[in-house]
Assembly symmetry: C2
Homo-oligomer: 189 residues x 2
DNA sequence: CTCGCTGTACCGATCGTTCGGTCCACACTT
DNA sequence: AAGTGTGGACCGAACGATCGGTACAGCGAG
């Protein structure tokens, strides 16, 4: 494993821990267990400690949003195909709805302002990347953003219920609902 | 203030603290500050400590769900009126979307199993209480439950985004969306 | 030998919790 | 009315454990 791969793997494990335990629920001991790193070794990889781990975790989410945008802004793919690609990404990222959302976790807890601001920006970026799909499908700018925000809300709400019930059903249904809504929204007359 | 009023006031303050800070983010020191009680005095009111505080907070949510059901199962009120009442209750409880949901907070974090189970049950009870509105409006049982679950999901997702952006807009819009959807769903032919 | 990385040992602070004890309103006795 | 007892409300101090974080010596690879 190269150095960069190691770094990515590390951030991935850290982000997963945050998503499962929340910010305050994530302790250095848990991180140490999950990464097979001594408690002090963690500080070699994340010099500023817990805050840097959270920051880097959010950056990995930023990367995902970026790849969503790349998909939605494709000039060749059809809206339906774009959504299928994005849907698959989301399904994989949230592991069928059984794994929580890092953004939601940080949004619901009281976290340092720097994290809170970054979380808000990423939510906006996510909605905007999704809106791009609707824009390119010919929707009005106003509608595109409204649809996208609705999609994000639906996904977040479904994730909460999936977590609460330990069942992937709400999340799966939400993805399906979005698929159906997409057909109506992008049906050109 | 009577003894019972004092207890209710105390639980209300505790529940609010959990909703703002999450389970692990809520410390006895914070509770002490919010309640103007010494750290040790807390144990006079909540003998089993943090876990009992969380439990009692969830019980206060159970009471709200109960009063939702009382509204939705009224034999005299119209569906639209019922929803206006429930909507006002929700708007008040979530303070325009700026205050998080206790159930969501406990669902997203890693909390003791006893809390997790209670949270899941309350989500089900909430959806079922809401479904009662659609049932009494003549919807099929299957549709009623689907509508209700969708409403809960929409509210939860909107709460996440409202918290993330520090704006009540997503929550207000979600409530309005539900109002509109209700008209379509309950329009008898 | 140097440098990237790791484990051991440790720090002060805070965690949730317990304990001994004070204050005071109220009831019962005399 | 005065004294005595009871119990609820509350507090400061302290507990063992764990928190996030640091210092440093050792180790293997280049």
């Amino acid at each position: 494993m190269t150095m960069d791969e190691r770094q990515l793997d590390l951030v991935d494990k850290v982000a997963r821990t945050f998503r499962e335990n929340g910010f305050h629920g994530t302790t250095m001991s848990i991180i140490s267990d999950r990464t097979d790193l001594g408690r002090s070794s963690i500080y070699h990889h994340f010099g500023r400690g817990k805050l840097e781990m959270a920051h880097r975790s959010l950056e990995s989410i930023e990367a995902i949003i970026h790849s969503i945008r790349q998909t939605t802004s494709s000039p060749t793919l059809s809206p339906a195909t774009k959504w299928e690609v994005v849907r698959a990404m989301l399904h994989r990222h949230y592991e069928g709805g059984l794994l929580g959302c890092l953004l939601a976790v940080f949004a619901m807890e009281e976290v340092p302002n720097e994290l809170r601001d970054q979380t808000g920006r990423l939510f906006s970026a996510w909605a905007d990347a999704t809106a791009e799909l609707y824009r390119m499908a010919g929707c009005l700018e106003m509608d595109a953003l409204r649809y996208a925000q609705r999609d994000v809300i639906l996904i977040q709400g479904a994730l909460v219920l999936s977590r609460a019930h330990g069942s992937s059903a709400p999340f799966e249904e939400a993805l399906e609902d979005i698929s159906e809504a997409l057909e109506l929204r992008t049906s050109q007359t």
